[in-house]
């Protein structure tokens, strides 16, 4: 087992991509002052709708578009309840996560006609970059070759979001709304529409994440296949705050843990430990980061 070989890097990127897409959605909401905990349910809903649309149309890209559109629509429930009605986003998110689990399992039986896992040779997955002609280049070939085109898109979107928040007028306004909604409103900014916008954008990003998970990483849908990745994304947002690159770092940490877990399973570690590893590592990172943060603020107080 060699951690440093390129295929390991490739599997880290594969594991990270869905999480980083979902976390990016959570980050945007967090910047605007809404704590979005519904990422898990939205990721699952995105995976399901992407598979259903791909199954119905026979085209993976239609599946991606369908997943994005359907999940953005699903996230409208959160945006209407939390922004328009000012309901507690945490409680709404608990409900939405449960609703997604129920809806996807229920509709799976009615639409796809199976329980548990749906897979079929007719179900079209996303093409790999190698099949699009990237396979032969050194380093890029083995690292990006087995990935779907959505994987590089995920990382490009992080850079784009960082640039948008830092350099553009609307990005600055979004940050202002998150830091002080009343002040932003008094300057004539429309707080509501900005918040609706980012919650819906988070839904769309989760749809993209789900599509990558169900049509990129694998080509199937199984009940509860998000398997806590949405929660890891929530923790990544807590770790990274409103800084996109820190959130990316947290997601990469999870990706390494998952890829490592897979490898160790290959050499005989029980599956249960491989399943648990990403959560344990995420939790440890959260605790360590909080301890470090506390130390730093304590030092500032005393000097």
């Amino acid at each position: 087992m060699n951690i440093l070989e390129w295929t390991f890097v490739a599997s880290v990127l594969t594991a990270t991509a869905p999480v980083v897409l979902a976390a990016l959605g959570g980050l945007l909401c967090s910047v605007s002052g809404i704590f979005n905990m519904a990422l898990e349910g939205q990721l699952l809903f995105g995976a399901f709708s992407a598979v259903v649309v791909s199954h119905l149309t026979g085209n993976a890209w239609c599946g991606v578009a369908g997943g994005v559109a359907a999940t953005a629509l699903y996230s409208a429930v959160l945006s209407v309840s939390a922004v328009t009605f000012r309901a507690d986003p945490v409680v709404v998110a608990v409900g939405l996560n449960l609703l997604a689990l129920g809806l996807t399992s229920f509709l799976m039986r009615r639409i796809l006609g199976t329980a548990g896992t749906y897979t079929s040779p007719e179900l079209r997955g996303l093409p790999t970059l190698a099949s699009l002609g990237l396979g032969k280049i050194t380093v890029i070939g083995p690292v990006l070759g087995p990935q779907s085109p959505l994987v590089p898109v995920a990382f490009v979107l992080v850079v784009a979001a960082a640039w948008w928040l830092k350099r553009t007028r609307s990005g600055l306004r979004l940050r202002g709304i998150g830091q002080h909604p009343e002040a932003a409103e008094s300057l004539g900014l429309k707080v509501g529409p900005y918040r609706h916008g980012v919650v819906l954008a988070a839904g769309a990003l989760c749809g993209l994440a789900g599509a990558q998970l169900a049509l990129g990483n694998v080509t199937l849908f199984s009940e509860g296949m998000s398997a806590g990745r949405g929660w890891v994304a929530v923790v990544a947002v807590m770790l990274g705050g409103v800084r996109p690159y820190r959130v990316l770092g947290a997601c990469l940490l999870f990706g390494v843990a998952e890829a490592l877990g897979f490898r160790l399973q290959g050499v005989g570690l029980p599956q249960q430990f491989a399943d648990a590893a990403p959560y344990v590592i995420t939790l440890l990172a959260l605790v360590l980061a909080s301890v470090a943060g506390r130390r730093r603020s304590a030092r500032l107080e005393f000097t």
Partner: protein, 389 residues
């Protein structure tokens, strides 16, 4: 005098109407939306709903429903107790699974005299649940990491650990099934009634629920817990040991989850079957029930009964009418969302009424303030208002 009594009575009645109005409205809304889902995927509601009711209360099934009521009520307390201080315990599955494994291990591996063969595993399960949940408390009080995240993150590894223990060290030799051997007869929970489904767990959990209701409503401890949930900093200022209460309520909630795990394992089928504790979804059924009770602990057993009927009935619906039982999960999710929305709508309507009353005397302070309030915080759906630190 009698007029005063009348006035108080009418106020109580109108309050009850108002609050149970929320619950009725929530259930009506959830039913309407669920029916909509049914119609869209061409399930006949006229066939599905009667099948659901039959599945929950028709002759053989009622005892089974009562048997499921026990773990659901226990998990409701596991969620409701920390919620009174404003914390969300979403890790019930892990606390329950590890509690169950510890109970099974003790019952299988430690020979105990028949008198305490039931009590010791149950106590150990309770303690395990309390420890697993208690880990989240210092993370919240010392490091400020919300319990909702840590309980959930701890839950998955805890369930995985339980699954590992059941599949390997504690597995039944030679069968290849992911389950422990049958626990010895001495450790079986005595059953109540004829079917054998309902065990001594039912009176036990009812007694403990009554005890919780008493502590919550009638004691200083309960008052301090509610004060912490209503406004943490104000409670701290008033001398309430907020951090200690946080630890005890989280551990107390976990204790109930662990106890439920023990009760399941020591009841029929008298073994730990991997996945059997978490698969019925007691944790989230209970969460929906507690949120539906909107902060009135006394109502919790009734909402739990309702949600249990839906949950068990859903399985009957699947058998009888071929409608996937996940429909009840959809209904639960909808109930939580609608409760959250109605809680703030009612809260704001109340504020508006107060503002209008003030406006009659003084010039307009109300509306701007009502609009600028932060999105209503966690506790409001549960009837406690949390002050974020």
């Amino acid at each position: 005098m009698s007029r005063d009594v009348n006035q108080v009575m009418s106020r109580v009645v109108s309050r009850l109407m108002d609050r149970s109005g929320t619950a009725v409205l929530t259930i009506a809304g959830a039913l309407a939306l669920t029916t909509l889902v049914m119609v869209i995927v061409r399930v006949d509601p006229a066939e599905a709903y009667p099948a659901l009711i039959r599945g929950a209360v028709a002759d053989g099934n009622l005892e089974y429903t009562i048997a499921s009521f026990v773990p659901t009520l226990g998990m409701a307390l596991a969620f409701a107790i920390p919620l009174r201080t404003g914390e969300f315990n979403l890790g019930g599955d892990g606390q329950m699974a590890l509690g169950g494994v510890v109970a099974a291990a003790l019952a299988l591996r430690v020979p105990l005299p028949s008198g305490i063969a039931v009590i010791v595993p149950l106590a150990a399960a309770t303690l395990t649940g309390a420890l697993v949940a208690g880990v989240s408390a210092p993370l919240r009080t010392r490091l400020g990491i919300p319990a909702i995240v840590t309980t959930l993150l701890i839950s998955s590894p805890a369930v995985a650990l339980a699954s590992y223990l059941v599949r390997f060290p504690l597995a039944e030799a030679g069968t290849g099934n992911a389950q422990t051997p049958l626990i010895p007869d001495d450790a079986h929970l005595p059953s109540v009634g004829e079917s054998g489904y309902v065990t001594l767990g039912l009176p036990l959990i009812l007694l403990l629920t009554a005890a919780w209701l008493y502590v919550d409503g009638r004691t200083v401890l309960g008052y301090e817990i509610r004060a912490t949930g209503a406004n943490r900093e104000f409670a701290r200022y008033g001398g309430v040991p907020v951090d200690r209460l946080e630890i005890s309520t989280l551990a107390g909630g976990g204790a109930f989850a662990g106890l439920v795990g023990g009760l399941i394992v020591l009841g029929p089928p008298f073994r730990f079957v991997d996945g059997a504790l978490t698969a019925p979804g007691y944790t989230f059924t209970a969460i929906a029930a507690v949120l539906l009770a909107t902060g009135r602990p006394v109502v919790v057993p009734f909402t739990v009964a309702l949600m249990t009927i839906l949950q068990v009935g859903g399985q009957g619906m699947e058998r009888d009418a071929g409608v996937p039982s996940q429909l009840t999960q959809i209904m639960q999710g909808l109930i939580i969302v609608i409760v959250a929305v109605l809680a703030t709508v009612r809260h704001r309507a109340g504020k508006r009424a107060v503002a209008a009353a003030i406006r009659a005397d003084a010039p307009e302070p109300g509306e701007a303030e009502a609009r600028s309030t932060e999105p209503a915080r966690a506790g409001q759906a549960a009837g406690v208002t949390e002050a974020e630190s």
